[in-house]
């Protein structure tokens, strides 16, 4: 079966005023159709850059990215994205925000609104369909952003630390919501986070990245049963996985520390 996403030898170089900096160094991975992959790593390891490149918002310095077998040059409607900030259009109501994508793809207002209303029900915001974003809490705004990204029925959903700006309680609720949503939609999901717990709870597979320059340290398959909820964090199998991940991260941290000490 053809992978939904293929990233091959991806390198990304930024021009800064101190010269060129390698942000991402020869990263390769595939994502199978319907798979949920989390990329974990410290801030500055280039995980968001990798995601933006898959989205077509940034151009690779070297390497290839294929989505559904086709190379990515620019944003495409069958790839949805949820950012760390909701980035809702402040002048549109919740319904109009979600209906924006279908409208842009040429659907009539009635059709687009019907799609929006289905998604509004799915993310539990029926009472707020006509509200403007500035009247919603951070968690509700991010639910709208997720619904908006799903409105074009994307084959691939990219999520860039979507719960990073939320408080711990809201974040746990959002993770459970996403797990429930995921069982209803068919999209392939790539989810970037710096939170190892979040990654293991959500993913089928976790890619652990390291900084300076960003590269993949290890892949960890998460074979926890689905349907899942955040209470999976209390199970021994979960703790064993988390220990594996933490060992990798600790070894890398030590190596980086010794290296900086030697230089």
């Amino acid at each position: 079966m053809q992978p939904a996403i293929q990233v091959a030898n991806l390198s990304i170089v930024f021009d800064t005023n101190r010269g060129q900096v390698i942000a991402v160094d020869r990263v390769s991975f595939d994502v199978a159709p319907g798979e949920f992959v989390c990329i974990v790593g410290p801030s500055g390891c280039g995980k968001s850059t990798v995601l933006n490149t898959i989205a077509g918002l940034e151009v690779p310095f070297e390497g290839d990215i294929l989505v559904e077998g086709a190379p990515v040059f620019s944003p495409r409607a069958d790839v949805g994205m949820v950012f760390q900030q909701p980035h809702l259009f402040p002048w549109k109501s919740v319904r109009r925000n979600i209906a924006h994508g279908p409208r842009m793809l040429g659907k009539s207002r009635t059709e687009a609104n019907a799609i929006a209303d289905d998604l509004i029900a799915m993310v539990g915001l029926k009472r707020f369909a006509d509200a403007y974003p500035n009247t919603l809490s951070g968690g509700m705004q991010q639910r709208v952003a997720i619904a908006r990204a799903l409105a074009n029925q994307p084959r691939v959903l990219l999520m860039d630390e979507p719960f990073g700006a939320l408080d711990a309680q809201t974040r746990a609720v959002m993770q459970d919501n996403l797990l429930a949503l995921r069982d209803r939609i068919k999209a392939t999901i790539v989810f970037v986070t710096h939170d190892i717990d979040e990654a293991i709870v959500l993913a089928d597979r976790v890619l652990i990245m390291s900084a300076g320059p960003g590269h993949i340290l290890r892949e960890v398959a998460v074979k926890l049963p689905r349907p899942r909820s955040s209470s999976v964090m209390l199970e021994p199998a979960y703790l064993a996985l988390k220990k594996d991940c933490l060992d990798v991260i600790r070894a890398e941290g030590l190596r980086a520390f010794n290296q900086s000490d030697a230089s």
Partner: protein, 274 residues
């Protein structure tokens, strides 16, 4: 005994809270009262000072004399002609200058090439006070209406251009990226995202331009006109009709005030999502 001791401080706090609330209500009523008295108090004081003989009544007429002058101005039929002439200049100049400012602000804000071409020129011309153009406007346009409109348009344009330019440039890049990911074509980005994103800035620019249009109106009418509120102030000054001069000033202030209030109401409706 112990119970009583622990209950007492609570009662004390509550009682304290109640008095404080009563105090704040009393303070609020006092403020409203003083506010309502403010204008009558100053007008009364003005009347007293003018009539006391401490100042020259011809140069500093009391409010009653000013009121009579204004009534005569209205009765003579000149007032409404003057008002119409001034309002026409302000409104037409504002609309033309505002429209040009928004149009060019979008162009320079959105297209770097156009900005490179025009922004240096605009930034050199913008700080010159519009009033300084009066002499050359008289050379170019004489005492015609076109010259007066030119001054108002000139004053309004740069303010609106700059705020629109900044507004377009400050549109949240995150919104643009989100819109791109939702399949928004680049050519629809302007109407869907950029214009609405810049709208709050444009409205602020237009509101500033309201008062600027009145400044430039003064310059335009002082330079020579055949009707208008400021023109009438100048004529009255030459005839030493100080009452009418002050009446004219009051009329100008009132016009500008009403225009600003109206615009504030409008602005709230234009930016509907706030």
């Amino acid at each position: 005994m112990q119970e009583a001791a622990s209950a007492r401080p609570e009662i004390a706090i509550r009682a304290d809270g109640r008095t404080r609330r009563r105090d704040s209500a009393r303070l609020r009523r006092l403020n409203i009262l003083v506010g309502a008295l403010s204008l009558p108090l100053f007008i009364g004081l003005w009347e007293l000072v003018s009539r006391s003989g401490a100042v020259n009544m011809v140069l500093f007429p009391p409010p009653t004399v000013v009121a009579i002058a204004v009534l005569e101005w209205i009765r003579s039929g000149q007032f409404f002609g003057d008002l119409a002439a001034s309002l026409f200049r302000v409104a037409t100049g504002f609309i033309i200058g505002g429209a040009l400012g928004i149009l060019l602000g979008i162009l320079t804000g959105q297209f770097p090439v156009i900005s490179s071409l025009l922004s240096p020129l605009f930034h050199i011309l913008r700080p010159i006070p519009p009033i300084a153009f009066v002499p050359i406007v008289i050379l170019w346009f004489g005492l015609s209406e076109a010259g007066k409109l030119f001054l108002v348009v000139w004053g309004v344009f740069f303010t609106v251009w700059l705020s629109t330019h900044i507004g377009v440039q400050k549109v949240d890049r995150g919104l643009v990226r989100a819109a791109l990911m939702l399949g928004t074509p680049r050519r629809q980005m302007l109407q869907e995202i950029v214009l609405l994103g810049a709208l709050p800035y444009i409205v602020v620019g237009l509101r500033t331009a309201v008062s600027i249009s009145f400044y430039t109106l003064v310059a335009a009418e002082l330079a020579g006109a055949f009707a208008g509120i400021v023109y009438r102030i100048e004529i009255a000054q030459q005839n030493l009709q100080t009452g009418q001069v002050m009446g004219g000033l009051a009329a100008l202030g009132l016009m500008s005030f009403i225009a600003d209030r109206l615009f504030a109401v409008l602005a709230e409706r234009v930016v509907w999502w706030r």
